[in-house]
Amino acid sequence: MGHQYLAIYWRDMLRFVRFRALLFSSLVQPALWMAFFGIAMTSSFDRLSSLAPVPEGAIAIPYLTFMAAGVMALTTLFTTLFGGMGLLFDKLWGLMREILASPAPRSHILFGISLSGITKSFIQVIIIMAFGLLLGVQFFVGKGPAAIALSVTGILLFVAVFAIGFLLLSSTIAITMESPESMQAVMTLLSLPLFFVSNALYPAESFPPFLQAATALNPLTYLVTGIRYFAIGPDFFALGHHYVYTATDVFSAFLALAFFAAVMFSLALRTINHAVVN
């Protein structure tokens, strides 16, 4: 395989660091989520959940810890959902002609965009982790350096495979759309159900059955499962629910995300191979 995707990657990262406002907001935004939403909700949720009896053997965790994992997942969702936007501007401003007329295979556009989206998500996730730990989030409790390194790797692996799926979905939409406004509209429409019908900020276990079924179709649910497993542990108690993740649960969550990414890849590849820029 050639290395043309690195050119796409390099340009996208160059633009990312060049636009200071964009860079700044993408780094500070997740931290603000943690600081305001987290701290505000923690006091009320913790008061409520202190009423629920903790079952034998389960470890109760503060809400801030519970939601920190969710904020990592949500931030990844929003960043990657808009990760294809650049392609729309490239298309509208004619910049994509240079790439389409070059001998670089079109799949490399997708590889390059995926790689830069993953990089940005990694940076954000690591910032949230570090900032969360600073605020007193109880991640990696009782783990040594090697176990922490392993857990972080696990988290990043989940983030990466989730990011690929949504970056490619975003790219497909970008190549199909004709204006930034319409893309914005589609994204907003898409992000709301993904956001609410998930276990990111509250337990989906207390949803009515049809919503629970919807949660099972939401890739965000699987990302959250992966992050919580690696950051908090396989067995904890939060918001009146006892969470137990087996290794099989986590592995199948990963497979579900990988499947989603594969489907999105074939969709995006088909779309870009048929794209005509005039």
Partner: protein
């Protein structure tokens, strides 16, 4: 003549009900500058887009640099450079970054790429702008950068779609100089334009295109000669008799009174006709006060073939 670098036969392209290109055939020998001259909407950009693999070949056959555009698009892409009609530069990158990106897109090895970038920046005289963002360049500089980018990969053919559209006169001359220089170094050039003077001053051969059809082809000289319309303006001591006298010459197509004196439309070369014309007047004892021979312009050629001016 060397083997053709571009061979097009029976090419047609339509957008839904609009016929943009309507069955054109032409070929361009290696090392030439070939121009498509025609008004807006004639089908020039569509032709370039098909030749550069951006649009599919709908009908006809196209070979560029020895490769079939429909069968071997990747080989074609490797062999060509393109300067598009609209600006296609990322305004948030620097001059150097634009070229670095392009070289990487074409998998140029690092050493060669870096050397070539320096060479290209020198060629288009943007040394002082190397690390300046594109959005801070003038229109002429951007065009020069696009030409540099098109040449980065040493293409066999450089496609230029209206290369001086919207440039000031000085920048135009500048761009023309680069085009000539690049061509002297061996690159075949295919350019489109709706400027007569551009086609006239740059091209080895010109095809005039209108409504998707090629209506005339040849060197600038051949096209003008084909018109057979050199005009000799004369002021004489006796214009009425002189006009009557010249009307009988076989080379003379038409005689019309002018503001002062009269003008004679000549079939063929006007300068070559001058001696017999003057001879005839002298023989009749008519004195000649002033003579002027005007060659037709490509404007006249366009009007002749289409019945209208190119603007519009």
């Amino acid at each position: 003549m060397s083997a053709p670098v571009i061979e097009v036969s029976g090419l047609a392209h339509r957008f839904k009900e609009t016929v943009a290109v309507d069955g054109i055939s032409f070929s361009v020998p290696a090392g030439q500058i070939f121009s498509f001259l025609g008004p807006n909407g004639a089908g020039k950009s569509t032709t370039i887009n098909v030749l550069t693999t951006l649009l599919a070949v709908q009908q006809g056959s196209v070979k560029v640099a020895g490769f079939d555009v429909a069968e071997q698009p990747e080989e074609v892409r490797r062999s060509i450079g393109i300067v598009f009609q609209e600006e296609t530069l990322d305004r948030d990158l620097t001059v150097w970054e634009i070229l670095e990106f392009h070289g990487n897109l074409y998998s140029m090895p690092r050493g060669e790429r870096r050397a070539r970038i320096d060479e290209m920046i020198r060629l288009v005289e943007l040394e002082k702008k190397r690390d300046v963002l594109v959005k801070h360049l003038s229109g002429g500089m951007k065009r020069r950068l696009e030409i540099a980018r098109g040449l980065m990969t040493r293409p066999k053919v450089l496609f230029l779609d209206e290369p001086t559209l919207g440039l000031d006169p000085q920048s135009r001359i500048h761009v023309w100089d680069y085009i000539r220089q690049v061509n002297r170094e061996g690159t075949t050039i295919f350019l489109t334009t709706h400027y007569m003077d551009e086609a006239d001053s740059l091209s080895d051969r010109i095809s005039i295109i209108d409504h998707g059809k090629i209506i005339a082809s040849g060197t600038s000289r051949e096209l003008k000669d084909a018109l057979g319309q050199d005009i000799i303006s004369l002021e004489t001591g006796d214009d009425v008799n002189a006009a009557e006298l010249l009307r009988t010459l076989p080379e003379v197509k038409d005689v019309r009174p002018g503001m002062r004196g009269f003008s004679v439309t000549i079939t063929g070369n006007g300068a070559a006709c001058l001696p017999p014309v003057l001879e005839r007047l002298k023989g009749a004892g008519i004195s000649v006060a002033a003579v002027n021979v005007k060659r037709p312009t490509l404007d006249d050629v366009f009007v002749h073939f289409t019945g209208r001016e190119i603007r519009g």
